[in-house]
């Protein structure tokens, strides 16, 4: 079926298809998303790198992370040290995916949402800030931060 769509049709279909790039579906239970997105396994080391990374996750722009030697950490969100003791993996996942589901006024950006956003820069349009795999990596890492 797919192979038979002509080039013209494929080009025409592109602008319609790209914003609708479907995100892995998830189910909210209480204040958590208990099941991993897309059934993926997270990687703790990749998650740690994402949280620190200044382009991709850039979480430390707002949060104090678990490593006090990291220079210039933010003071806007709660410190991430101990978050794995305060919240379970499903609760952390929901707060990364879309914290506004809990607090409509939240400053915490939605990392896995593409709808209801305005004036998104062209290069980020139609894409979530983090992929399902990246969310799972970060969830795995944060879940290990049990000490305050």
């Amino acid at each position: 079926m797919r192979a038979r769509i002509g080039l013209g049709a494929a080009l025409l279909a592109l602008p319609v298809m790209s914003p609708a790039m479907a995100l892995e579906p998830f189910a909210v239970v209480g204040d958590a998303i208990p099941a991993p997105l897309g059934g993926l396994d997270g990687d703790v080391r990749r998650g740690e790198a994402l949280v620190r990374d200044r382009e991709r996750g850039n979480c430390l722009i707002c949060h104090q992370g678990a490593d006090p030697s990291e220079p210039f950490q933010g003071s806007i969100g709660p410190p991430l040290a101990g978050v794995g003791a305060r919240l379970d993996a499903g609760q952390i996942r929901l707060r990364l995916v879309d914290a506004s589901l809990l607090n409509p006024q939240t400053v915490m950006p939605p990392y896995f949402r593409t709808d209801n956003l305005q004036d998104v820069a062209p290069s980020f349009r139609g894409k979530p800030a983090l992929s399902a795999q990246e969310i799972e990596d970060v969830v795995s890492y944060l879940a290990t931060l049990r000490a305050e």
């Binding site: 430390l60 722009i61 707002c62 220079p71 210039f72 950490q73 933010g74 003071s75 806007i76 506004s100 400053v107 950006p109 939605p110 956003l117 305005q118 004036d119 998104v120 820069a121 062209p122 980020f124 894409k127 800030a129």
Partner: protein, 254 residues
Amino acid sequence: MAAIGFVVALACLILQTSGVLAEIRSGSDFLSPELRRQQADETRNPGFFWVEQGRELFTRKPAGEGQACIGCHAQPQQSLRSAATRYPQIDAAAGRLLNLEGRIEQCRVERQGQPAFGYETPELLSLTAYLASLSRGLPMQVRTDGPAQPFYEAGKAFFERRQGQLNLSCQQCHDGLVGQKLRGDTISHGAGTGYPAYRLEWNDVGSLHRRLRACSLGVRATQFEAGGPEYLALELYLASRATGLPVETPAMRR
């Protein structure tokens, strides 16, 4: 009794107004003491090179028939003192909102018969920095009523609306999070009263609109054109929020 009531009401009103004024603080208040000292020292603040260049351009006769700016604006220290405090403003003839850059370009094209410098060119930045420096220390006082009102409303709506992939509004940072650390920066009220400013990150002087583009990029939102209608309206709103704050151009920023 009534008189006492009146006096009390008046006192409350004064307290309230001064409360509002005290609420919005200059970006300079959030700088390190060292950077603030450097900003205040004309020999160590690089922004004053641009002011000097602007002063020179102001007296330079353009090619052809046109006059120098000083031909129309004699004694700018007096005649243009406080001009910057009233921008952006509506140009009555065109019905357009002009900021200081826009007014300079208008004079250049319509009165000097020269091609526009272009936003963010060294010439326009220098002239803007020079003219704004003539208002140093004077309180901002833009008009937001009458024909300016729709622009003010548009700027306010822009300021309050969440935007970008990170879904943040200007207001969330510059009202709600003032004083908090965003990496190495301390978030201010976003008053913008020191622009054009010398930013260490740019290693250069830049316009307020260039700074706005940086904030838009920060939340991964569309960066609007410098000098375009979106940031002009926003500039009017920021200036009205900054009513009463002194002009500090050329400021220094991180």
